[in-house]
């Protein structure tokens, strides 16, 4: 839950305050409500936490964040989390 996962903005939908983001090769919609003041544009990197883009970061910082997730053995968790965004469970799927 405390993971912050880097993702690259692929498209922005201003009406719903969402962005399509490439997270670890997975394309997901995340909320950009918390970055309204940041002037987000396609190609920017963001740190994502529980389905929300939290801050705009540099490409180098994104790479570094991926490295730290990998070295803390949290990359699979991050991947599962990214895959889970926008997929509300239909029945109990707790693992």
């Amino acid at each position: 839950m405390c993971l912050a996962i880097p993702g690259r903005v692929e498209a922005i939908e201003a009406r719903t305050q969402t962005a399509s983001v490439d997270v670890l090769g997975i394309r997901r919609k995340v909320s950009i409500d918390l970055l309204v003041d940041e002037g987000l544009s396609v190609g920017d990197w963001v740190l994502i936490h529980v389905g929300f883009a939290m801050s705009k970061i540099s490409a180098e910082h994104a790479e570094e964040q991926l490295r730290i997730l990998a070295s803390l053995d949290e990359i699979n968790e991050a991947q599962a989390e990214a895959e889970g965004y926008g997929q509300p469970p239909n029945s109990g799927n707790s693992r």
Partner: protein, 370 residues
Amino acid sequence: MKFMDEYRDGETVHRLSREISQLADQNRTYRIMEICGGHTHSIFRFGLSQILPGNIELIHGPGCPVCVLPMGRMDEGLAMAERDGLIFTAFGDMMRVPGTTGTPLDAKARGADIRMVYSPLDALETARRNLDRPVLFFAIGFETTAPSTAVTLMKAKELGVTNFFVFCNHVLVNPAIRALLESDDMRLDAFIGPGHVSTVIGCKPYEFIAEEFQRPLVVSGFEPVDILQSIVMILRQMNAGVAKIENQYGRAVSWDGNTAARKALDRVFETRSTFMWRGLGGIPNSAYAIREEFAEFDAEKQIGVRGRSFPDPALAQCGEVLKGVKKPVECSLFGTVCKPENPVGALMVSSEGACAAQYRYSDATTVLRK
């Protein structure tokens, strides 16, 4: 150990560790608390404590929201889960957290509809797809996570959803630090400040730590070089006899934080006059409650179960470990009765808890050794 090769900045690490040895005054001790569970995980994973001189002690703070949730709150959430037809949603980390009546997974085995979500927005979406059933989201987390719950509630209101409820367990980092600083057995000299909480709140709210308590705090990133760099910054302050709030993690954290996130927090939440923390007891103003304007979504008001609190099991030393008075291995349950597969205390549940991190990496010698 192969970790050294995985870690790109080995040279920098050694330079920093030499610098720390030079800065550390042999005639004194330095007791530094890292508040955030992410730092705890990193410190154990890389064996950072072992490359520090003996008079620098890293103490693992209360910054893992799962670890500080009292059993009574889990019991209340699970009592709600057993309501007819209710769908209980929570993050994956919550699934194995024990209350006195068991974990969410145990409740699921007893027939409750327990579902894991990765985002509060997906809990809201679950409500919109199941209009005939109440859907509960067990909200937990520090200021990093609370804005996402706030925005979700704002969306629920906008959409006019009537079957979505939030059981709010969001906690605040600064009141906990204040409580530690004011406690009788306080032995902390300085703090490594949380990275991601600070992206939201910024650095300014920590100023009381320097001004009122004359303790330095350095907001830090999560890589070994970040943590070591932060320790260098702390030692420099302490050697110079000053206490300031500094930001080592400028690439993600600004002095003022994220304004939009803080606005969402203010709009949806108010602080509770007090909240129970596992191991630390009641702490004033340390948690968020949902404001009256959003009361229709407040599970405590709408589903309501009696507020109860239970002490931790008698032999468990979670409170002492959280305060840095004891080390995980000094708890008599550590590794015998209390293990990650079957945690007694919440510090053993997630890899960000001091006990689980210690258990998991106990055989890891220094990863970054030359």
